[in-house]
């Protein structure tokens, strides 16, 4: 369309022209945005959608011993874990581990995140960098570090022994305790980051206002600071929960074969027993678990107005 030169008032003409200009720029912009999306979407399709669809299809196949896969359509791979109390226990343990690690991680990260968010120090940037620096080290290396620290001859046990506090070493590795300790530390930087970015509405002025109106420090915290930081806390919890229930390395290395969660079970089925359809079905179950949690999370954030 072009702007028509009629006897219509000049103002209208100008307005129409402006609108046209806006429209065409808008269209151009939209096209540019769409074009810019292509590489990302393509990447996602290749690296995410396609493998995921393949995995879902794989989960309906039948796994025979020794890695032969019978291409068929069966629900056995789902019926087996869903009717077997052992897999219910594994799923429950996975869920429990996620909740425990999420809660503990939020608990220890909250003060750090709060401090960093409110700090006005010129070193704030540096401090944030220090808090998230552990992310630069691989989780494998950090897990091995924890194995050294928590082992029977490790730092903790030898210190306690040296102080005469224990006779026999505490069992801190090769069980859920070790896995929990390791995961909490490993996921702390994620929790801190998530909380700092989620503390958007937290402002010192509001706390000062509460203080000037006579609220005690505890009241300020429980009635102002905490409710305002709740979205950040929830995001951090969700992030750590999801990371924990899908993590494999730490439960495998610090669990010593005694910690059976969905991720280690999937690994065993894939690499040890070569039962890919069953491993795929367990992965889908894990994915559904994620979906449920995210749905609950969205309900919760809406409720608290996050």
């Amino acid at each position: 369309m072009t702007v028509t030169q009629t006897e219509a008032p000049a103002a209208r003409r100008a307005g129409a022209a402006e609108g046209e200009l806006e429209k065409s720029t808008g269209r151009r912009n939209r096209r540019t945005y769409l074009a810019l999306l292509i590489p990302g979407v393509l990447g996602l399709v290749v690296s995410f959608v396609f493998p995921l669809a393949y995995m879902v299809r794989m989960s309906f196949n039948k796994g025979a011993p020794d890695g032969v896969i019978e291409e068929t359509f069966t629900l056995d791979t789902y019926i087996q874990p869903l009717t077997d109390p052992y897999y219910w226990r594994v799923t429950l343990d996975t869920f429990q581990m996620g909740v425990t690690v999420g809660l503990l991680c939020v608990l220890v990260s909250y003060p750090v995140a709060l401090f960093l968010a409110r700090s006005t120090s010129k070193y704030r940037g540096l401090l944030i960098a220090v808090a998230i620096a552990p992310l630069l080290t691989s989780a494998v290396v950090r897990t091995y570090g924890w194995m050294v620290i928590l082992g029977t001859n490790g730092l903790v046990n030898s210190t306690l022994d040296g102080m005469g506090l224990i006779d026999t070493p505490l069992k801190l590795t090769n069980n859920m305790t070790g896995v929990t300790i390791g995961l909490v530390e490993i996921f702390m930087p994620y929790a801190i980051l998530a909380m700092i970015s989620g503390f958007g509405r937290l402002s010192p002025q509001l706390e000062e206002a509460a203080g000037s109106l006579g609220a005690s420090k505890l009241q300020i915290f429980t009635r102002v600071t905490l409710p305002l930081s709740l979205p950040g806390i929830l995001t951090a919890f969700l992030l750590v929960f999801v990371l924990s229930i899908s993590t494999f390395i730490t439960p495998r290395l610090l669990g010593g074969g005694s910690v059976q969660v969905l991720a280690t079970e999937i690994y065993d089925q894939t690499t040890g027993l070569l039962n890919w359809p069953f491993a795929a079905a367990l992965s889908v179950i894990l994915l559904v678990l994620f979906g449920l949690i995210i749905a609950v999370y969205q309900r919760l954030t809406k409720k608290i107005g996050g």
């Binding site: 290749v46 396609f50 493998p51 025979a64 896969i69 019978e70 291409e71 082992g151 069992k171 090769n174």
Partner: protein
């Protein structure tokens, strides 16, 4: 219904790779000198174990092979376990990219039945004549290339004299200081068979008694998945007893200045046998046969026995006395608990499940 192998996965990987190429990431297509019929030149894709095994095999066998056949290029693809090798070969079934696989007997038997391997041509592999009948494959597939057995690892400071019986694993004095690799590891499967035999049971029919006994041991086991591995756990003093392979155990015993020892208890043990196999429709079959022949040569067998204490599978390998004493005896002098490979392939899943549900405690 169609029975497929993981060929589709390879296809998927190829599609992904193609997509990556399309998006401009590039990459070179894997090529092989398939047309080359000469046995002394070309390329050779070997799939075998990783870690210290790879290091020692490379030094003792692959390097001398390369010196002898400078025109054959060897690509070594390492896997942590035979199961992973099998999985990789299944994925390549319709378009093999591997020529030779060295893997556990129980897994290569599966490979043979799945049609992944070729029969060995005695004319192209003259050294096959030196392999005694018992180590040849009855169907003419890949023969045994080396033997080892499951041993008991012990801390030499705690045990100045090697423990004589597997019973030591149940001794309350060492509770909490034991590492046992649970199935599907061959070590755990072997311990199941050994315990079953100790309890006077026929494990091909039932392992109930063994399970009851292993349950008594489980609370004293520190880890069912030792890290970084079963040997380092004992060497670093994290545990004082463990299950391990004799060959690697002997090697690490030397490495650790004899801090750890390895022994075969009197109740018997289970062989761990590796076979050398030529992949069906291997892209470089001639080079593959040349390599298999070299792997079965007295030279290669002796060199690897010296390097990593695997017992040779050929009759003409002459080991020095100090090496001979440390490799697993193959002359019938060792009490062997037979773990039939075909039986094992059906029992692996069940025994793994039993360990997870009944034996491993939290």
């Amino acid at each position: 219904m169609r029975v497929i192998t993981k060929g589709k996965i390879a296809l998927a990987a190829a599609a992904t790779a193609a997509a990556l190429v399309l998006t401009g990431c590039g990459g070179s297509a894997g090529s092989s000198s398939g047309g080359n019929s000469s046995a002394t030149s070309g390329e050779l894709n070997l799939i075998a174990y990783s870690g210290v095994w790879q290091d020692q095999y490379t030094a003792a066998v692959i390097e001398p092979f390369k010196a002898k056949y400078p025109d054959i290029k060897i690509n070594y693809s390492s896997k942590r376990s035979s199961a992973e090798m099998l999985s990789a070969l299944q994925g390549q079934k319709n378009n093999p990219a591997t020529d030779v696989a060295i893997m556990d007997n129980s897994v290569s038997t599966t490979g043979n039945t799945q049609g992944l391997f070729d029969k060995i041509d005695p004319a192209a592999v003259p050294n096959l004549a030196n392999v005694p009948e018992q180590f040849k494959n009855k169907g003419g597939f890949g023969p045994v290339v080396m033997l080892d057995a499951v041993g008991l690892l012990y801390d030499t400071a705690t045990f100045p004299k090697a423990p004589e019986s597997w019973d030591v694993l149940w001794d309350p004095a060492y509770a909490g200081k034991i590492n046992v690799n649970a199935p599907p590891s061959l070590l755990g499967l072997s311990l199941t068979a050994i315990t079953s035999k100790m309890e006077g049971e026929d494990y091909t029919k039932s392992i109930d008694k063994a399970v009851a006994r292993l349950k008594e041991m489980a609370p004293g086991v520190q880890t069912f998945a030792p890290n970084p591995d079963e040997y380092q756990n004992v060497i670093t003093g994290q545990t004082v007893l463990g299950l391990g392979q004799n060959a690697r155990g002997q090697f690490y015993s030397d490495q650790s200045n004899k801090k750890m020892g390895v022994t075969f208890p009197k109740e018997g043990t289970v062989y761990q046998i590796n076979t050398v196999n030529v992949v069906k429709d291997a892209p470089n079959k001639a080079a593959a046969q040349t390599f298999v022949d070299y792997a079965l040569s007295a030279e290669a067998q002796t060199a690897f026995a010296k390097a990593l204490f695997y017992a040779p599978s050929v009759t003409n390998a002459d080991l020095p006395a100090d090496v001979k004493d440390r490799v697993v005896p193959t002359d019938g002098s060792l009490n062997i608990v037979p773990l039939d490979v075909e039986f094992l392939s059906s029992a692996r899943d069940k025994w793994t499940d039993t360990w997870k549900r009944q034996i491993i405690t939290k």
